[in-house]
């Protein structure tokens, strides 16, 4: 167990900035998710923490000690790779023992640790098999076992579930969560899957374009996304976002996008800068209501398409020349091509000015 700190870590490959000025505190025993689309630099960041790649500038500190000059082996970290990276010429037992043997841990201790990990992960019957004789899920368990036997300061996971089929992924996700509770270990987990991020992490660090967009707990990330990117990246289907500008009609400030105007709710007004350049208004599909609710904006929409998800419906609508998706229960009698009223609860609206959220304390620019 340990805490990790990143101080202004940057990385560039041939003039191209992959990571810019990443600063992050990972507290002891936390499960931190590095979330972002592919190519955002999250895996590179993990490799820098591991010591597999060197950063261009900035520092990595584990337990307050700078580790930049240390090779991966001396950082006391364990890593679970996307493709498992089991040594194919070694049996499962030898795979588990490998790192301990390299550290000259006594035979007896190695055997005990392997027994312990095998019990925890239920891989006892597999110990004498070779990796090629294991299924994907079993390989995944062995890969985790190889990290667990080390009892490292930090666990690093590089998209470990992305090669499993959907069903197995869900069950491994639950097991991983339990495992983290059991081990009380500090884990850093890279993924592009926002469901994994929401369910596993106690903190989500959203990375895009080599910068940290937001670092918060999952609920906060969902409820108060720091910028339009985070807003659209977290949640399925993504938040409805419209870019527009500020207009004043009479004394009322309004938000105009395309040929639609909305009155801006009063609680946004004090936070607005005098001359904002770009405004983005957003609302999550699941927050849109088909029935009148107190303190809501009413809009008239025409239904384009309905997707039936079983439990509920995704209603694709048109508001003037804007598009919108609403999520609603099955019992509203909505059909394609009909006109309907939609209600936006004002406290569920998200407003972004110059790509930053305005109704919450503005996060320091990354």
């Amino acid at each position: 167990m340990a805490e990790l700190e990143l101080r202004a870590v940057s990385k560039s490959f041939r003039e191209q900035n992959v990571l810019r000025d990443i600063s992050l505190q990972v507290p002891n025993g936390s499960f931190t998710i590095l979330l972002g689309p592919s190519g955002c630099g999250k895996s590179t960041l993990l490799r820098i923490i591991a010591g597999l790649d060197a950063q261009t500038s900035g520092q990595v500190l584990i337990d307050g000690k700078e580790v930049d000059h240390l090779p991966p082996a001396e950082r006391d970290i364990a890593m679970v790779f996307q493709h498992y990276a089991l040594y194919p010429h070694l049996s499962v037992r030898e795979n588990l023992a490998f790192a301990l043997k390299m550290r000259r841990v006594p035979r007896q201790v190695i055997d005990d640790r392997i027994a312990e990990a095998a019990q925890l992960l239920e891989i006892h019957p597999l110990l004498d098999r070779k990796p090629k004789d294991l299924s994907g899920g079993q390989r995944q368990r062995v890969a985790m076992g190889r990290a667990i036997v080390r009892k490292p300061k930090l666990f690093l996971f590089d998209e470990p579930l992305s090669n499993l089929d959907a069903q197995l992924r869900t069950s491994m996700r639950i097991e991983l969560k339990k495992l983290q509770h059991r081990l009380q270990a500090t884990m850093i987990y890279v993924t592009h899957d926002q469901v994994e991020a929401m369910t596993l992490g106690d903190r989500i660090v959203v990375i895009e374009g080599g910068r940290i967009r937001q670092a918060d707990d999952p609920q906060q990330t969902y409820n108060a996304p720091a910028d339009p990117f985070v807003a659209s990246f977290i949640g399925t289907p993504p938040m409805n976002l419209w870019e527009g500008c500020l207009r004043t009609q009479g004394s009322e400030p309004t938000f105009q996008s395309g040929n639609m105007t909305f009155p801006l709710p009063a609680h946004f007004l004090p936070t607005l800068p005098p001359h904002p350049s770009t405004l983005t208004l957003g609302i999550r599909p699941e927050d849109i209501s088909l029935q009148r609710t107190p303190h809501s904006l009413r809009v008239e929409a025409s239904v384009d398409l309905i997707e039936d998800l079983g439990a509920d419906l995704l209603i694709h609508c048109r508001l003037g020349n804007l598009k919108l998706v609403a999520r609603a229960g099955r019992n509203h009698g909505i059909t394609t091509d009909m006109a309907t009223s939609l209600f936006f609860p004002v406290d569920k609206l998200h407003l972004f000015v110059d790509q930053r959220r305005v109704d919450s304390p503005i996060a320091p620019p990354a």
Partner: protein, 271 residues
């Protein structure tokens, strides 16, 4: 069906055509002098071992074979010793002009031997390597290195780099990773390269003839070629000696065949 018959016939014809000269030599080696000189010679030999006796004992074939073993063995070991680190570096490290290096290697391996024979002879002369077995080992290593590096580099490239990352996290340095993870997984590549080097060094005639003029150091191809007398062409002994010289190679290839099985790295990563 007709397609399959045609295909099978084609394969048989090709294999037969390439085996025929060798088969004729094997048959000839078991004939007697009268059978060889008969016109037309009989297809099937009487099973005489006379030529083997003369080739092995009168022509000192064992001494040549010993020289060949030493030369080919040393060449193979030395070439691998240099080729493995070179190929690993070319496969894994970011080296400026890497493609250029590989292209130059390929060009070097295509140099006509005639063109470099003179310089090599002079070089060995000044190094004192003429008429020493190491004198042929040196050019052999130089000439087989490009091919070995190419084969090994392509093998190393195919190994998942994630395995090496895992080894580094688990506590291996560069050499530890190479010896504990990369080399065991590249066994098929190493054996393939080793066998090709061995075959080259075992069969090489031109440089051996040029550099080794004393019978004590000569290798099998040179030794056998010099069976020929001023007025005689001992076909029988030549055939017997050629068979003896070929057998060890066939043995080594058969023995190593199980190591040249690819797909050893299956199961390392998904796939």
């Amino acid at each position: 069906m007709t397609r399959r018959i045609l295909l099978a016939g084609g394969i048989l014809a090709t294999v037969g055509l390439s085996l025929l000269p060798f088969l004729w030599f094997v048959l000839t080696s078991f004939k007697s002098q009268t059978e060889i000189e008969a016109a037309p010679p009989p297809w099937w030999p009487s099973g005489s071992l006379g030529f083997y006796r003369t080739a092995l004992f009168d022509h000192h074939l064992f001494d040549y074979a010993l020289n060949s073993v030493v030369v080919a063995g040393a060449t193979t070991l030395l070439a691998l010793l240099f080729a493995i680190p070179a190929a690993y570096a070319l496969a894994r490290l970011t080296i400026p002009g890497k493609q250029g290096i590989l292209a130059v290697l390929l060009c070097v391996s295509m140099f006509p031997q005639m063109a470099i024979a003179g310089p090599i002879w002079r070089l060995l002369d000044s190094l004192g390597g003429l008429n020493h077995r190491w004198g042929v080992v040196l050019p052999y290593v130089a000439l087989t290195l490009p091919l070995a590096i190419w084969i090994l580099a392509s093998f190393f490239k195919e190994l998942p780099p994630e395995l090496e990352d895992a080894a580094r996290v688990d506590g291996c340095g560069t050499w530890g990773t190479l010896f504990r993870i990369t080399l065991p997984l590249a066994t098929p590549g190493i054996f393939t390269a080793a066998i090709l080097i061995l075959i080259y060094a075992w069969n090489e005639f031109f440089f051996a003839l040029l550099i080794l003029t004393q019978p004590e150091q000569q290798t099998l191809p040179v030794g056998i070629a010099l069976f020929q007398g001023e007025f005689t062409m001992p076909w029988g002994e030549l055939a017997a000696a050629s068979v003896v010289a070929t057998l060890p190679l066939i043995g080594v290839v058969l023995l190593c065949q199980r190591w040249i099985v690819s797909g050893l790295s299956a199961g390392a990563v998904k796939g």
